[in-house]
Amino acid sequence: MTQLKKQVASTLPANISLDWLRSAYSHMVLIRAFDKKVVALQRTGQMRTYPSCLGQEAIGVGIGLALQDNDVFVPYYRDQATLFLRGVSLTQIMQVWGGDERGHLFEGAARRDLPLCIPIATQMTHAAGVAIALKSRAEHQACLVTCGDGATSKGDFSEALNLAGLWQLPMVCVINNNQWAISVPLHKQTACQTLAQKAVAAGMEGVQIDGNDVAEVYQAVDRALTKARQGKGPTLIEAVSYRLSDHTTADDATRYRDLEQVNNAWEREPVKRLQSLLHAHQGWSPEQENALLESVRKQVDDAVTAYLSIPPQPADEFLKYQFAEMTTPLALQISWQHERFPEHETSDSNGVQKS
């Protein structure tokens, strides 16, 4: 397994500018601040169970910057950074984890993206299906799907990769190998030396990269996406990182892992690493850092204010999206809901909330 680097490279990555790095760094700092805030909201009863992406910012930002608008993103559930870069607002991301399906009304580049996927690895076959659709229309775009290291043990992971290799689908899979599937470490998940080698059995290219190096993530994903868009087949990318957070806010990682290991991982975490690189190249000043932190604080605060002010759905809303057309049984059940809840909590037939 690749050891995550502690020290920054002395030279800039090839074809990566300081401006690009500053932009990536800004996104990563925003996502880290956002993530910290959402966890705090959960601790104060204003958020439901939430999976932190602490330590995974380079993966999410690297993917988000490599995807083009017409590509399709098929997320799992720890993809806050990529979703944000696809045009999903911080407010919407909070809305989903705050328990409101309307957060999935993605717009912009994400309008065709799939919603968050919770059953592990099931999104892998969806991505293969999306890639089939793109290929059948000869759209020179790619589908990118993410999963965690635990997902690589599941059938859907293998079934999807097998098909992607067989049919040479325009698909890129990025494994966020953060070393932990809730409490199970990677060495209890597989005997494989790497997860990237799982590509071999599927007849596709597999690469392992440093998932805490945003430039490396970007370049690997960009290369794989370009290849897929050109009809040259799928790629499996294993991005090695470390989950610095609990699995979710409902988890307590101190029950199953040593503090020493976590402290060690903090030494290699992606935000600090990129900051050091920028400093080493005189690419980042304390003034810039302060301005960024202030801007990020405002952006997150505004998003939280917007999230907290979203009115609940009317009491009959959840009954209206089962089928394209209302069915007789559901129409009856909606009428029961109108009896159960006061009028102001239901909507009229056009979905407009009654005053």
Partner: protein, 342 residues
């Protein structure tokens, strides 16, 4: 043979009448849907070159090419999963699960995603896909090839479950299922794939989903069934008629969502109700219909609702299938109990 050739020539045969079996009606509907709509694709195990193990997709690959008739690797969850991905991105996949006994590997995809995508995304994405699966016993197949587990799927919100019982309804219902913007599980009772031929007009007209079909009208008793058991149910109705008892015979066809309007109207009229299912007795569609009849027609009932069902066991191995499967005689006996004859 002339019939088969006529079937194979596609849209040039608009309104051509075919004297065909139910499995040929499935093929006819698939061909019609694929001709009408270039986004319709057929996929599954052995569906392309082999034309399906029951020949339901015979010749489709020759006519429409390998890009629209896809032999997939042997992985049911993948078949359902890619269908979801395709359906959310502008295609209309019609996937075949070779036998319903092997659908369980795909169940997570069907239950957790296909049936929920519209709801989860509040209508932003939807899943216009059909999963076809032959089901039911009576053909002497090995274990796992004779399941009738339709109730498991009828319990899932957001999923339609449609079961034809004749060539005409297989054609019309499958066309409507493929055109429907939401996921449909289309279960084909394989015991009756070839037992009757029927005149099917290749008109492209679909039959309504979510609607029962009244196959025979009568005033004395309501007989309700679906799929292969419609045949035993109609035989029982004929035997009853010979004794002067006229049955209203209802083919439920779409078992979820249920058209209780038709059923309740009939039961209120006849005052007697017998429900026939091949599936295991407990927790099935017959139980649901029985409960709904109790809720909505109890004052009209002149005797308790009767159910004629399979047993709470797996289907026996083929040598002993006949011990399990309900017969017309079983249905007549249940009617006699309802009528107070015995």
């Amino acid at each position: 043979m002339s019939v088969t050739r006529a079937v194979n020539s596609g849209l040039s045969d608009i309104n051509t009448v075919h004297e065909i079996t139910m499995v040929e009606a499935v093929t006819l509907a698939l061909r019609r849907a694929m001709t009408e709509d270039p986004t319709v694709v057929v996929l599954g195990e052995d569906v392309a070159t082999n034309g399906g193990v029951f020949r339901a997709t015979e010749n489709l690959k020759t006519e429409f090419g390998f890009k629209r008739v896809l032999d997939t690797p042997l992985a049911e969850s993948m078949i359902a999963g890619i269908s979801i991905g395709m359906a959310t991105h502008g295609m209309r996949p019609v996937a075949e699960i070779q036998f319903m006994g092997f659908i369980f590997a795909a169940m997570e995809q069907i239950v957790c995603h296909a049936a929920r995508m519209r709801n989860r995304t509040r209508g932003r994405l939807h899943c216009p896909l059909v999963i076809r699966a032959p089901f039911g016993g009576g053909i002497g197949a090995p274990e796992h090839h004779s399941e009738s587990t339709e109730a498991l799927f009828a319990h899932i919100p957001g999923l339609r479950v449609v079961i034809p019982s004749s060539p005409v309804r297989a054609y019309g219902l499958l066309l409507s299922a493929i055109r429907n913007p939401d996921p449909v599980l289309f279960l084909e009772p394989k015991r009756i794939y070839r037992i009757v031929r029927q005149r099917v007009v290749d008109s492209g007209k679909g039959l309504p989903l979510d609607t029962c079909f009244t196959l025979r009208q009568g005033d004395d008793i309501t007989l309700i069934s679906w799929g292969a058991m419609m045949h035993e149910t109609l035989q029982a109705a004929t035997q009853l008629q010979q004794r002067g008892v006229n049955a209203d015979v209802i083919d439920v066809a779409t078992i979820s969502p249920l058209d209780m309007t038709t059923i309740v109207r009939s039961v209120r009229h006849t005052g007697r109700c017998v429900i026939v299912q091949e599936a295991a007795r407990s927790g099935g569609i017959a139980s649901e219909i029985s409960a709904r009849v109790a809720e909505e027609a109890m004052p009209w009932l002149q005797s308790p609702v009767q159910r004629v069902t399979g047993f709470d066991t797996p289907m026996p191995y083929p040598r002993h299938e006949h011990y399990y499967l309900p017969t017309a005689a079983d249905i007549v006996r249940a009617c006699e109990r309802t009528l107070g004859v015995i």
